[in-house]
């Protein structure tokens, strides 16, 4: 932290070329870190899983012939003619066909006759306290975790960048105020604060994302502030000022792109934290409201059924959280190392 970033002494090449060169350099450095590369493929896999959830798990068919009519993708397209069909009961009759997702269980379809069932050939990951398929819920839970993680991070990075850049660029009284606000937020046990706010608010996934975003911006703000402190007196910023550009333009068009790398790193870590916090909230029953599938909610059921040996309720969703959070953290670490000129190999 104390070491000043080294600035190459050679004459600066044209701006555009240097910009491309920087990201190519970062990519090359990033590829050298095996853990980070493996983790980024893992994240890609999770993203595909989240996006294609209706094609992997659900009771609505991907293609079906129903009463002489053929329908493509009733799992994602709400056909009017199919509204009244109860897909959990429907079996293709004569002249009818259906291609269902490989895991033919909807995440919210309960079956009270098969509560807390151990993994078997029908339910690969077992069933939960309402007889819902755990594998299906884990897959659909990926969507929730990813959405909460990215939206919450988006909000907190947005706040952090605005406050951090204003503080770093203007300094003085604005800097002092922003630093005080950061200190105030740091004083609160954030998890308890979020819990209290969530308890006051009506349960909804949007509230989870907003509250997580509103309390997670401090680290991004401090990073951006530090970068702006370093960059505001650099030659290119002075040149921009000398040519009479407005502050807004200098901050966001000239300095901010140069402070982007630490923001990217902070964002990656923040996604991991947000996913972890969302699952903890859901574990305590204050996260995503039921019956929406959430990893934390599945683990929380194990509190009641673990003593009866329901290991699948704690194992599978727990591993899902662990893998996702680890992957985001390792990618963040890889990015940070790749962007740090002192660590270049």
């Amino acid at each position: 932290m104390n070491a000043v970033r080294e600035i190459p002494a050679a004459e600066a090449p044209p701006k555009r070329a240097r910009k491309q060169g920087y990201w190519r350099l970062v990519t090359r450095q990033f590829r050298k870190r095996k853990q980070a590369v493996v983790s980024s493929f893992l994240l890609l896999f999770l993203a595909v899983l989240a996006l294609s959830a209706p094609f992997l798990a659900g009771e609505k068919p991907i293609y079906c012939v129903y009463q002489g009519q053929s329908y493509w993708f009733p799992n994602v397209i709400p056909y009017k003619a199919l509204v009244s069909v109860d897909w959990s009961r429907w079996e293709p009759g004569e002249g009818e066909r259906a291609v269902r997702p490989p895991i033919p269980h909807a995440p919210e379809r309960s079956n009270l006759r098969n509560r807390v069932g151990a993994p078997d050939r029908v339910h690969w990951f077992g069933t939960d306290d309402r007889g819902r398929d755990v594998l299906s819920r884990v897959i659909w839970g990926t969507r929730i975790s990813m959405t909460v993680g990215f939206v919450a991070t988006g909000i907190s990075i947005f706040i952090g960048v605005i406050l951090g850049s204003l503080a770093g660029y203007y300094g003085g009284i604005i800097d002092a105020i922003v630093l005080r606000i950061i200190e105030i937020v740091l004083c609160f046990p954030v998890f308890f604060l979020i819990l209290a706010v969530m308890a006051f608010l009506p349960p909804s996934i949007y509230n989870v994302m907003i509250v997580l975003g509103l309390f997670g911006w401090t680290s991004a703000a401090r990073l951006v502030r530090g970068e702006f402190l370093k960059l505001r007196d650099s030659e290119f910023a002075m040149a921009a000022r000398a040519s009479g550009l407005r502050d807004f333009r200098i901050i966001f068009r000239h300095i901010f792109p140069n402070a982007l790398s630490p923001v990217l790193v902070a964002a990656t870590f923040e996604v991991a934290t947000a996913i972890l916090t969302e699952s903890s909230l859901s574990f305590l029953g204050f996260g995503v409201p039921p019956p929406t599938a959430s990893w934390g909610e599945l683990v929380s059921q194990s509190q009641l059924y673990l003593h009866r040996g329901a290991w699948w309720l704690v194992t599978f969703p727990g591993i899902a959280i662990f893998i996702t959070v680890t992957a985001f953290n390792l990618v963040g670490e890889g990015l940070r190392d790749a962007m740090d000129p002192r660590l270049r190999q």
């Binding site: 200190e183 004083c187 609160f188 046990p189 998890f191 006051f200 704690v314």
Partner: protein
């Protein structure tokens, strides 16, 4: 030093006011408040209906929610300054008294955690930094990252399943902080019983901080090792041991110790889950139950007390920093 101290203490005032404002904003969300009613309408839910009218009336009266906003805030500020948070809705006991009973339990677990976190993470971080780039360092770093990514509630459930509760190994108790009938024990057996109960919860709080601080210890040490004065010390021909322990280690220690202030709110927040899972009558569980039963005075009391405690921690760590590192005073 004196000037720095005065300046730092003066900064307490805006921070305290900020804490009061942020917690005041939380009250604004309480049912019976115009703001919260508007919020509920906006989101199309009628959750306000699910709160008993009695609670709404009591909350209105307690915080003067029907008065103009500046009077409300003035009242809240006065409550905060005098630490008068009213009485709990549940059993009508003063909030401060309930917190006074729960706080020592949480502090016991947290102090134990602090101790173990620092005892293990500083040597590990330093060794890892000195051996930077070796296989051992790479494996340690990966291990710390994995540890850091483990959700504490999951670890707690797994520990309960495998090490307690009689499913597999019945090594540790998983409920409460003492066995039944512990009050009849003499001191040493009682202490042993207490510590035995705290093993699993303390572990759950410790492993995360351990991973967190170790990484800081490592990167702090790496930063110091790169400094000119370390190169100079090496050039003078001091042995590696002397350079690392006498010159590098001490300097890398300072920023890590000041993280104490940052760790406190994180651990207090983590206590909510751990105390809930292990049924430990501390601040976390008290707060969570207050939230569940909409015991607003208690929620606000716990929120404010933890924030004020953390503020004291932050100030102490800043002063400590200034004492240990003379460079900071001449900023």
């Amino acid at each position: 030093m004196k000037a720095y101290l005065i300046r730092r203490l003066l900064l307490l005032i805006p921070t305290f006011l900020g804490i009061s404002i942020l917690s005041f904003l939380v009250i604004q969300l309480a049912p019976g408040n115009p703001v919260s009613i508007r919020l509920m309408k906006m989101q199309g839910t009628m959750a306000a209906n699910s709160v008993p009218a009695e609670v709404i009336e009591k909350t209105k009266a307690l915080y003067g929610l029907d008065k103009p906003i500046y009077i409300q805030y003035g009242r809240w500020l006065k409550r905060l300054a005098t630490l008068d948070f009213g009485t709990s809705y549940k059993d009508r006991r003063p909030v401060l008294e309930k917190i006074g009973e729960a706080l020592p339990v949480t502090l016991q677990i947290n102090l134990l955690s602090f101790f173990f976190i620092y005892v293990f993470s500083i040597p590990l971080g330093v060794i890892s930094a000195v051996k930077q780039g070796t296989w051992g360092d790479a494996i340690t770093t990966l291990f710390l990252f994995l540890l850091y990514s483990l959700p504490s509630f999951w670890v707690a459930m797994l520990l309960m399943y495998f090490l307690g509760g009689g499913q597999h190994l019945n090594w540790f108790p998983i409920y409460g902080i003492n066995s039944l009938g512990a009050e009849k024990m003499t001191f040493w057996p009682w202490l042993w019983d207490r510590l035995w109960h705290l093993v699993l919860p303390t572990f759950c709080l410790t492993y995360w901080g351990f991973a967190y601080i170790s990484r800081y210890a490592r990167s702090g040490m790496i930063d110091v090792i790169r400094q000119d004065y370390i190169r100079t010390a090496k050039a003078y021909g001091f042995s590696n041991k002397v350079v690392i322990f006498k010159y590098a280690f001490r300097n890398s220690l300072i920023p890590i110790l000041t993280l104490l202030g940052m760790l406190l709110p994180a651990l207090l927040g983590g206590s909510v889950i751990i105390e809930q899972i292990f049924s430990i009558p501390g601040m976390g569980r008290l707060g969570f139950e207050a939230i569940l039963s909409r015991d607003y005075p208690l929620v606000m009391g716990i929120l404010s007390i933890s924030a004020l405690l953390t503020l004291v921690g932050l100030i102490l760590s800043d002063i400590f920093y200034a004492l240990a590192d003379p460079r900071i005073r001449f900023e």
